[in-house]
């Protein structure tokens, strides 16, 4: 398989087949937390995309040039958390400067990307799968793209549900969780699409 085809497969598998939210169940907190409005969902998606791509490349570099040569693999998690926390802090300052409105919209969920397990999950899985530098970057980006896709779709659904005649007992988180479960079932349909 040529290189472009391979990249396509990686991207497709990360976005649809092994979607982090719906099939690996990572990053559920921002998925439910910021999906109330499409606008904030899009902002959050871009923030996560930035953090995840950079975190997966940075963690690959750290893994290859610090952890393996010094035989410090047991420090993997703490190193990766340090990388992610720094990146999140950085992007928080950047968003505050560039778009104060988005900054207010994201609110507490922006610093919470630090504890978004999907970000750490991507970094750790990259290492486990022994990806190369380019595939790690692509995998991180693909995972973020999948997160963004699902988050934006879900926020659209939730916006529609605002006006729907939902029984009182199901209003709010209850119906959101049921919808998320149905989306997860729907995404299972992609499982035969690519073999990874």
């Amino acid at each position: 398989m040529n290189a472009i085809g391979e990249f396509g497969v990686i991207l497709l598998s990360a976005v649809l087949v092994n979607n982090y939210v719906l099939t690996k169940f990572l990053g559920i907190c921002p998925f439910l937390g910021v999906s109330g409005k499409t606008e904030t969902a899009i902002g959050m998606s871009f923030a996560v995309m930035f953090v995840m791509t950079l975190a997966s490349t940075a963690s690959w570099l750290v893994q290859q040039y610090i952890l393996i040569p010094l035989d410090l693999l047991y420090l993997q998690t703490i190193f990766f958390i340090l990388i992610i926390a720094t990146l999140v802090q950085f992007i928080e300052m950047m968003i505050h400067k560039v778009s104060p409105v988005l900054y207010q919209g994201l609110g507490i969920y922006l610093p919470l990307i630090t504890t978004n397990c999907a970000v750490l999950g991507v970094a750790l899985l990259n290492v486990q799968q022994e990806n190369t530098f380019m595939t790690s970057a692509l995998y991180g980006f693909g995972a973020a793209l999948g997160f963004a896709l699902v988050l934006i779709l879900f926020s659209g659904l939730r916006e529609r549900m605002e006006g729907a005649p939902i029984p009182d007992a199901f209003k709010g988180s209850a119906v959101a969780l049921i919808t998320a479960g149905m989306m997860s079932l729907a995404f299972l349909g992609f499982s035969g699409l690519v073999k990874v």
């Binding site: 610090i66 035989d71 420090l75 190193f79 950085f90 300052m93 950047m94 400067k97």
Partner: protein
């Protein structure tokens, strides 16, 4: 032993680099908070009552600092706030919009008529009204700023504005009178010229 050294040094060095990057970023992406509106905001009573026509004290402070709004719109702050803002902004003090506010007033609930609907409790920006559903409410006059926001929601109109009782424990030396404050402001202005 060597391994321990490597682990500590590499993690320490990495954390140091991350810290330096963040320190530089915080300088690059530094947000200039408007120092003038900060000062105006500090003078406002922070009741967030919205009587100035702005949705809170901070927006009004921004409007005053940018010159959009006059200094005399803060009703709970009264004359004292108006004078200190005028002093800060270096403009002529203006009479308050509502002259009768010169006498400090507080809300008073006629308890016999109160039906305990809690609407005034929700309206009060400073939580000065206490009570529970179906129990009559009362106003803690120490905390009441006289902003009259509770009058409108009351379905039985049982809230009066009464003159604030002057008690010994609240008494303080009277502020310098308006004329002298104006004189001071003028003197400062002539200094600027």
């Amino acid at each position: 032993m060597e391994e321990l050294l490597y682990a500590t040094l590499s993690l320490g060095a990495f954390a140091l680099i991350a810290g330096i990057i963040l320190a530089i970023a915080s300088k690059v992406f530094h947000i200039e908070g408007d120092p003038l509106s900060d000062k105006v905001d500090a003078l406002l009573p922070q009741t967030q009552c919205g009587q100035c026509g702005y949705p809170g004290c901070r927006p009004y402070a921004n409007a005053v600092a940018s010159g959009e709004a006059d200094v005399n719109h803060c009703v709970p702050g009264g004359e004292r706030t108006m004078l200190s803002i005028a002093d800060l902004m270096g403009v002529e003090p203006k009479a308050l919009e509502e002259e009768e506010e010169a006498v400090p007033v507080v809300a008073f609930v006629r308890e016999d008529e109160c039906i305990g609907c809690t609407l005034c409790i929700k309206a009060c920006p400073v939580d000065a009204i206490i009570g529970a559903p179906k129990q009559y409410h009362t106003v803690v006059s120490d905390h009441c700023t006289g902003c009259v926001l509770c009058l409108e929601p009351c379905p039985v109109d049982c809230i009066d504005m009464i003159q604030k009782p002057e008690l010994l424990e609240h008494w303080s030396w009277p502020l310098p009178d308006t004329e002298r404050a104006q004189l001071g402001a003028e003197r400062r202005e002539s200094h600027h010229d």
